[in-house]
């Protein structure tokens, strides 16, 4: 091997190792974000309703003897409607369904809304489907007809028991002016103690 080759070999090895070091720590993102973020995130248990129906005599006759009964009930956990308005613009308007294969798990909200820094007016409404009509106030919607809340799944709200702390109100609202700095995350979450949407974070690490 000539000494020229040796030099080239050394330089190439050096370039490879420096390249490795450089690629190991590439600045990202290239530009630091200038905006702030409003993060909506909470998990709530919604109300479970059983819709029951009396079986006709013929229907009962068709069932095997050991499974015969007078009524059949189908349980369902109610969804919520989420509406987010930022400075008068609707930035989210969607139905939040219960999770899980049988749609009987808690509801989970996660939304990140980029917002320019400065003073922002945020309005959030989270309303259970059975309270949607004209739901603006803080009172809980009542269920009517032949719906019946039951103490079924753990994930659903057990209505009619003592201490209903677990239950999420049918209507949750949050309305506030936020002063956002660049890159700040304003976290709106549900506080089960206060049973309300609250502002958290705002700069501190939990």
């Amino acid at each position: 091997m000539t000494s020229g080759m040796r030099v080239v070999g050394g330089v190439l090895a050096l370039a490879a190792i420096v390249g490795l070091g450089a690629l190991s720590q590439v600045p990202y993102p290239p530009e630091p974000p200038a905006h702030a973020v409003i993060r909506l995130t909470w998990r709530t248990r919604s109300k479970r309703v059983d819709e029951c129906r009396r079986l006709t005599t013929e229907e009962q006759a068709q069932l095997p003897a050991h499974m015969r009964r007078e009524e059949v009930c189908e349980g369902r956990v109610l969804a919520y409607r989420l509406r987010v308005v930022l400075d008068g613009d609707t930035v989210a308007d969607e139905t939040v369904e219960p999770r899980g294969a049988r749609a009987d798990r808690p509801l989970y909200v996660f939304h990140e809304i980029p917002a320019p820094p400065g003073v922002r007016v945020l309005d959030v409404a989270f309303v259970r489907e059975d309270s949607l009509r004209g739901a603006t106030g803080g009172d809980e919607g009542t269920t009517g007809g032949d719906e019946r809340a039951t103490g079924g799944e753990d994930s659903a709200v057990r209505e009619g028991r003592a201490g209903r702390v677990q239950e999420t109100p049918a209507v949750l609202q949050f309305s506030e002016r936020l002063e956002l700095e660049p890159r700040q995350v304003a976290l709106i979450t549900y506080d089960p103690e206060r049973r309300a949407l609250v502002l958290k974070g705002y700069g501190q690490t939990p």
């Binding site: 070091g21 990202y28 993102p29 999770r99 890159r183």
Partner: protein
């Protein structure tokens, strides 16, 4: 192999060959890092293991970032231990990708090698997951980005009753169990890699697990120097309530983050699954069509004397010595077709020419060389015997620089009696061009060839053959110039010798209980 596969492979070879050639010129074939890429990974894994054990003493699940920060501040040891751990992990990704590319280009992915291909990919995946969990351990900005993006993707699978992404949104404090689980994975997965490596090389004999010492120390020294002179940056601590500022990102492990963050989770899954599927299935889509696949070796049990040489030499442990069916006492070789890659190296091992892939046994080679000699007037000129896989590609044409060329499918499969026959039939010299030992597509061809030619390894070139008229040179696929130069030098050296004279009747003694001629006649 479809035309598309064939083109892909050719493209891969056309990239690999010049790169190999350059490395050979710069570092010599002995230390060519591309040849040793798989073994370099092993060295890097050892570095990662040693430095990782040190780091483990200082890591605190309760205060992850602070403990790493303390390490980074320990300039006399902790800082460079941490950097070495990190740079070796980065280098491991690069080395694995080169190794993988090499195996693909050299058609070493299908048949009995499919196990190595698939287990290699599993190890690569484990390497990535180990890297990701390693960054999450640090819990700096990059760790948080990885954790959040990973959680977002995992939440698409019906694995968890509630979204794990919730862990990183700031709603609650991070559970200590999270860092514990992460640390557990980061330690347990690499341990599993040891098992993976065992499976990975289970089908090769004498696996070359370590590169030459000089290369191992150079790699270690270079990474160490980097770690001391340019310690790896530590990003700002993860903060769930701030969008990350510009922070260092490790391209080798987090290359996918910017792309993935911009895509819906389902399309990340879809595209990465499709890509992984294509790579994982290389052993099936990139293999030759059934009729074009080289057949495995067979043993002619009548000729086999039970010497065990092929059993020793087979680079893929495809041969077993088993009791004979007939009355003879000695054992007989038996090839397991499921393990045989049809390299033909056993054909070069067998003095009585009793084993080898169909039409490529020693006897077939001898018949072919006889036909060659009767067709071509040797006229005391140099004959080139060249490997079809490397040797600067000269085996592709019947002549190179005016010298007749005999192609062999792996120089290690050539029986030395071919050389003897050529020299005794009046060739001025025989220039054998093989791939450099660490480049051999069949792993050990050039190694055994060299020992048979010069060190009396069984099936040796007989002492009566004039060694001045035999020369072995190494040249990879991209090293045509090396072959040209070697040929010119050899021709000049041969020109200085007395003119070669053919023997009247070339008799070769083939070690067998039967007379050689009778064997050859068959």
């Amino acid at each position: 192999m479809t035309p598309f596969t064939d083109r892909t492979r050719r493209l891969a070879q056309s990239l690999l060959a010049p790169a190999d050639g350059l490395m050979n010129r710069l570092y010599t074939w002995r230390f060519n890092p591309l040849y040793h890429s798989g073994a370099v990974v092993v060295v890097l894994l050892l570095i990662i293991l040693v430095t990782g054990i040190y780091l483990l003493f200082f890591y605190r699940i309760g205060a992850p970032y602070a403990s790493v920060e303390r390490l980074a501040d320990q300039w006399w040891l902790g800082s460079w231990m941490r950097s070495l751990h990190r740079y070796a992990s980065d280098a491991a990704v690069v080395a694995v990708l080169i190794h993988m590319f090499r195996m693909f280009a050299q058609e070493r992915s299908w048949g009995p090698r499919a196990l190595a291909w698939v287990s290699g990919l599993v190890m690569l995946f484990v390497l990535f997951v180990s890297g990701w969990t390693g960054y999450v351990m640090v819990w700096d900005v990059q760790g948080l980005l990885l954790a959040r993006e990973g959680a977002r993707l995992l939440d698409l699978l019906p694995l968890f009753s509630e979204p794990i992404a919730r862990t990183f949104v700031g709603e609650r404090e991070l559970p200590g169990a999270f860092f514990f689980l992460n640390l557990f994975l980061h330690v347990a997965l690499p341990v599993g890699m040891g098992l993976g490596l065992w499976v990975h090389v289970s089908r090769v004999a004498r696996a070359g697990l370590l590169p030459p010492r000089g290369l191992s120390w150079t790699v270690t020294g270079a990474l160490l120097a980097m770690s001391v002179l340019w310690p790896a940056a530590l990003g700002p601590a993860a903060d769930l309530f701030r969008l990350p500022d510009t922070a260092p990102l490790d391209v080798f492990y987090s290359f996918w983050l910017p792309v993935s963050q911009a895509m819906p989770a389902w399309s990340v899954w879809l595209s990465s699954s499709a890509f992984s599927g294509v790579v994982l299935l290389v052993p099936w889509w990139a293999r030759p069509a059934l009729e074009a696949r080289p057949a495995p070796s067979v043993v002619n049990e009548r000729l086999c004397t039970g010497c065990t040489q092929c059993w020793v030499d087979c680079p893929y442990e495809a041969i077993a010595m088993v009791p004979r069916a007939d009355a003879r006492e000695e054992r007989v070789a038996r090839v397991d077709p499921a393990l045989c890659v049809s390299c033909g190296i056993c054909a070069g091992s067998c003095a009585p020419m009793g084993v080898g892939p169909p039409v490529r046994t020693g006897r077939d080679q001898l018949a072919a060389v006889r036909a060659f000699v009767s067709r071509n007037a040797l006229d005391a000129q140099v004959v080139v015997v060249a490997c079809t896989r490397g040797a600067g590609g000269v085996a592709a044409s019947p002549e190179f620089q005016g010298a007749p060329v005999i192609p062999v499918d792996c120089a290690g499969s050539m029986h030395t009696s071919v050389v003897e026959y050529l020299v005794r039939s009046g060739a001025g010299g025989v220039l054998i061009v093989s791939c450099p030992p660490r480049d051999c597509w069949h792993r050990e061809g050039p190694k055994w060839l060299e020992q048979r030619l010069y060190h009396d390894r069984e099936a040796e070139l007989k002492p009566r053959v004039d060694r001045r008229r035999v020369r072995l040179v190494y040249a990879g696929l991209g090293e045509r110039a090396t072959v040209r130069a070697a040929l010119r030098t050899f021709q000049r050296d041969i020109g200085a010798l007395e003119v070669a004279r053919p023997e009247d009747r070339v008799e070769l003694d083939i070690e067998c209980e039967r007379p050689a001629e009778e064997v050859l006649e068959r």
